[in-house]
Subunit: 259 residues, 4 copies
């Protein structure tokens, strides 16, 4: 990680706000480009050569400039359907034990936000292959990951149920409406004992998936939801924030069984 | 990841239980070794050559044998003080944007469980250096990581406030009683804009740390708690589990500011 | 409320404990009766004439003696199936707007714990009628309410779907496995616009009830769960308790519609 | 509770909305009065003589007309500082065991919303006395309770710490910034063993109050927060609502001790 901001870097502009939490923008640093925030324009070219963590003054306030983290990038990748939040992706990955060098298959590329998190977990010696049936999402994700400079993710336009070409897969992640339809394919291509992690928003889906997974050769099935609650902390007082995201979806983790 | 169980592998034995969630044991596979579970003994040598995900019969039940994931290992690393749970470690890592190749410093090695998670995130080209003042914890963590075959973590017996030798650190993680005392050292060795993530159990600590961090050259300070709620799902019904871990600790994330 | 403890009073013995929360016993004060706690026996007759809030020494500790509150009594009423917790009962009652003088019908008497809470809400000028099909529960609840000296609750052994005799009912509360089967009867006997509140433990039940209620002439349907999280507070630190009841059941509130 | 809507009644107009939950208005039914909703005007006089639960058509939608419940009224009583939500009030009342006929003292009248809930719990034979130091709140609450037709609440402009005139108080409720300052007065006027329930928004306040209460002759101190999470339920799916109120305040319950 470099000390100074360079042309072409992604940068996160953060404006602190009293009660509502920070306002954040993800921008690409470019000479001659002006970016408009809610408090005034920023000349992005002027950031070049400055150090990460520096402040930049706009008309009505001050922003800090940070190198975006995995979570920052995931939150900013637009998606038309529901997104996988960093809290959920992080939990799925640590529960599944993804490791540098792994081959991971994803179903439902969406914006590519989970694929991005997975690409960091498998590292340069590993590989992520992600399937998407919707050409629009496929193209959007392709563009997103290209801009992020991700090299170890292969995006495929196709149906995971029938088109999956990978074998000896170390882990599989599904973020799709009917993940139970992928179970036979998953069973075929996953290594023995390998993890299958699923993200679904409704109670009906967790039931349908959990029951089908158990009947379809998977075990050690666990269903959870991950909740993140923010706190307001200052000299005067410490208290939970008034509002929170109460639901994104449920996480189901499981393992392929063998006889 | 190999398909078959080999001598020397760590293995997770999982016994499913109706209502209480699974009972799990983390064992080292060894020829001639017998391990005693609540439902009877397992001859660990007999696992050699079998495939991950296989079942093994004991006197009063059946266990499944899985390759332990990051979360499985973290949960089983003993620790005398509070542990960092996988849910918290995963959130801290994704929010801080740890990447393959990074140099990460940890304060408060404890059992080495967070160091283990970090070692996977920085990968073989990265490095984790972890400080611990308590010789007992230092030795225990050393033994734990040695057994896990971790090669990219250096454990140091010493006081992070005064002894830190690393420079240009990409990210710092603190799990100690008085993390605010490390702020000057953190400020000195972290790269500009780099993340500092802290885990503390009480409201008093989040306040003291957040205020000191803000006054000590850190910004973009966010305080959260991560809650994981389990669900019981079967053909008959879907419902949240009756009990849950309601609190492990708070996570504070922040960034080093520069002028 | 009297100042002194009298023979025949219900009393709550409370032993404070460091980390696990208090240990509580609900006893009937009687001359010559000895009650055995985990820390030693208490001569209940010696409490007579002492003031509420006094302390009583047992062999290995000290208990405080309090007049039990509504919540204390509800928690101690035994029940073979799931109980309605005070948190859920209180929410159901305030959302339904039960008032002194109301006629309230309950379905699924169980131990009588919700009936007890309702009896206080309708007051001496109101009335609660509670139906139970299981003779065992019916008898147990009868005995429970008799001991509590409740006079404005009528317990009926019978099936709410077919046997309900009351008309112009101000509010109805259901705690039974198939509350949707009571909807036609509820529709018939409730006053126009009157509230119907239901407690069910599973996702399948809330769906089945909510859909049936909407189709069966009820509106303003709201489904919630009520969670209570405890805190450990002392001079040294403030923090959420480590464990909590994560689920008792869901509350569905609704109103009878008219054309 | 009457079957038909009469002139002078309070009525709740409820517009169902797909995802955001219902839009609700609390109105006073008056001949010749028109009320403007987000979907068009309602002639309130036309409601007279119709039955509760009926529907009323406005220009762009349909509203249902219900008799407001305790929770409906509490939510609509305006207040300049934080309000006590029905969920918190209901829990405080059931934990404190308020009964018909009780004398209850409240500190911090605010809008009168908790006093209103308490007035229903003590019933026509009981009494609530509520103190408020801010004349504006005192007047607002007076007007609010007058309109609600409440007869068993006495509002006093004064400082609970010094002005309290009641004795042999059955229960006390505090919703003020520094409830610990009222402890000596509470200790003096409460009956032996009587409950004192407090609502405060911050961690610092729960600590300061809990420690002072323990040192000031109160025991059985419990600190909790009450969370209500909504669900979206329809034929297609069942899932928690995306957003929720994550914090209103903490509830501290305690009892007066005697030697």
């Amino acid at each position: 990680m470099a000390v100074e901001i360079s042309e072409g870097d992604l940068a996160l502009l953060v404006f602190e706000r009293r009660r509502k939490g920070p306002k954040k923008y993800l921008v690409r640093v470019e000479r001659g480009k002006v970016f408009h925030t809610h408090l005034g324009p920023v000349d992005l070219g002027e950031l070049i050569g400055r150090r990460w963590g520096c402040s930049v003054e706009v008309k009505k306030g001050i922003a800090r400039v940070f190198r975006p983290t995995t979570a920052d990038i995931m939150e900013k990748l637009g998606r038309k359907t529901q997104i996988i939040y960093p809290k959920d992706a992080a939990y799925m990955i640590i529960k599944s034990g993804v490791r540098p060098g792994d081959l991971v298959v994803e179903g439902g590329t969406g914006s590519g936000s989970l694929a991005y998190a997975l690409s960091l977990s498998v590292g340069p010696t590993g590989k992520v292959v992600s399937y998407e049936v919707n050409p629009k999402f496929h193209e959007m994700a392709k563009e997103n990951l290209r801009r992020l400079g991700v090299r170890n993710v292969e995006l495929k336009l196709g149906d995971l149920r029938t088109d999956i070409a990978e074998r000896d897969v170390d882990a599989m992640f599904l973020d799709m409406a009917a993940p139970w339809e992928v179970l036979p394919a998953a069973r075929e291509v996953l290594k023995p004992g390998a993890p299958l992690a699923v993200f679904v928003p409704s109670c009906e889906q967790i039931k349908k998936f959990a029951v089908a997974a158990r009947d379809g050769g998977f075990g050690h099935i666990e269903v959870v939801e991950v909740l993140v609650r923010g706190y307001e902390v200052n000299e005067q007082r410490t208290r939970p924030a008034s509002r929170m995201i109460a639901h994104t979806g449920f996480v189901v983790t499981s393992r392929k069984l063998v006889d």
